[in-house]
Amino acid sequence: MSTVSVAASQTPRSSAGPYRRAARRFFSNIPAVAGLLVTCTIILLSLTYPWWWQFSPNDIDLRAINQGPSATHWMGSDGVGRDVLARTMQGGRTSLLVAVVSMFISMFIGFIFGAVAGFSGRLVDGIAMRIVDLAMTLPPVIFLLVLASIAGTGILPTILVISLLSWPVLARMVRARFLELRERDFVVAARGMGAGLPHLLLRHGIPNCIDILVVYATLQIAAGILLEAGLSFLGLGIAPPEASWGNMLNAARSTRVLEAYPWQWMFPGVVLVISVLAINFIGDGLRDAFDPRSDLN
């Protein structure tokens, strides 16, 4: 026992690597961990609900129209007797699916766009950034409406619209990072040895942008959920009978539902806000965790 501790004190203790330290910072951030727990719970519940909940989202029960929350229908039922809890869970699936897929697409576009702009000459960079400026001038919701008027409703068009809207912010951040990277010795060396663009992007670009990408991905999922809900709320996103949080809220645009059956829109609304809040907490936690200076505070 004593020999072991002597040996341990003689070898210099290796300090934790940047990822380990980032992980430690993240897990000591209480709101972020709480957000992670809540998000995991919501994902788990919405993925497994068919196994533990007796109703399915599109079962019509005409004997149970517009019933309030009760022991059988925990969140009540809607205008054609569909179970609100089942629809909220299914809506969670839809919303998360749309948000995650559109996050990946917009991350791909944004990363490639930003990376190419950052690594190429002035002309390409200038043109690319003017395109980004143009895409960012219009208020997002207006852009969303215009795109939606062209794309139509449904899951795929919604994903497309959200992805096309969201990449410019990332492109800007990635470009700034790449402008910095291209001057670094290891990149200059790799270029000198004849590395092509794919090698530069994959071997040097992604590992050095990982903090930007992870934080963007998290916050973009929250933004994607909100955008999907907004579109569906206006009747331009996911079309019924497919359930989504947004189109369940859309029901509240009818005064009758708004006034007399609040459970039909309040429950999905509350779940929506809780998930977005939780994911935003994770994103903020990740941002702090990846920032080495946050240890100093």
Binding site: P139, V146, S149, F233, L234, M266, G269, L272, V273, L277
Partner: protein
């Protein structure tokens, strides 16, 4: 025509003549430039959905209500946000700060359509204090008081997201300024704490907040669209939504162009306002 309503019997020659008359036989870029040229002289064409109503007057008639709604909301957001930010920074980590911070987090995370619905439910359905929508009480003569009565709830709800963001920026910016040497100097000179905050700290802390206000305009326009839809406020947002749902492209294009132009204009004004507050920029 036969695409819009296939039941209308129309012969091929008529269709071709119509296409030629409307310029639909031209390639798309040329059609677009024709539209642009007409738009420059104020001719945005006719609304498809509303059967030949000129677009420009239609859109312009909706600008007023939206500007009124957004301006009121921004006023509330700026005043409440800056005030809450100051309180929160001065009472750092005390009950007031924690409470306000939680509220601001909720405000940033809840979408405008949900706060709109909840506000509508609370004030118009449960409490019955305010009307549930529209801008004027039907059947009554126009009065400023009536408009204000209809305006107050949607404007307050619209201001929540922006106000919460302003508060968060104001808080962190003021906290940073309060740790500066000149604040310590002012306190050491014996300046009253109130004047230290108001004259020395807040003025400098406002700089980043002004930039923020300019850059949140886009988000506020987005929020206004949802609030207008929930409260049936007869503005640009409502016009835009009806135009999009009925694919009324001439209205969509005109409204989009107008909104884009005003956002650029507002950004310019923010830059100018920035110069007014920060003398370093004026001299550069």
């Amino acid at each position: 025509m036969s695409h819009i309503n296939p039941t209308i019997p129309i012969s091929e020659e008529d269709l071709a003549a119509l296409r030629e008359r409307l310029g639909l036989d031209q390639p798309l870029p040329i059609q677009h430039f024709a539209w642009l040229a007409a738009a420059l002289s104020g001719d945005f064409g006719y609304s498809i959905q509303r059967g030949g109503v000129p677009v420009l007057p239609l859109v312009l008639s909706r600008v007023g209500p939206t500007v009124l709604l957004m301006f009121t909301a921004m006023l509330i957001a700026i005043v409440a946000g800056i005030f809450a930010g100051i309180v929160s920074a001065i009472r750092k980590n005390r009950a007031a700060d924690v409470g306000l911070s939680i509220l601001s987090f909720l405000g940033v995370s809840s979408p405008a359509f949900l706060t709109g619905l909840l506000g509508l439910y609370a004030f118009s359905v449960v409490l019955r204090w305010f009307p549930s929508g529209g801008m004027l009480t039907p059947g009554q003569p126009y009065s400023t008081l009536d408009v204000l009565y209809h305006l107050i709830v949607p404007a307050t709800l619209l201001s929540i997201a922006q106000g919460a963001l302003i508060m968060r920026y104001m808080r962190s910016s003021l906290l940073e300024v309060l740790s500066q040497d000149y604040v310590r100097t002012a306190r050491a000179k014996g300046v009253r704490e109130f004047w230290v905050i108001v004259k020395h700290a807040v003025r400098n802390a406002l700089l980043p907040v002004i930039t923020l206000i300019g850059s949140t305009i886009g988000g506020a326009i987005g929020g206004a669209i949802f609030i207008e839809s929930v409260f049936n406020w007869p503005g640009m947002g409502l016009l835009m939504i009806t135009a999009v749902t009925s694919r009324d492209y001439s209205v969509i294009m005109c409204a989009t162009l107008l909104i884009g132009a005003s956002v650029i204009l507002i950004n310019l004004l923010t830059d100018i306002a920035y110069a007014a507050v920060d003398p370093r920029i004026r001299n550069a």
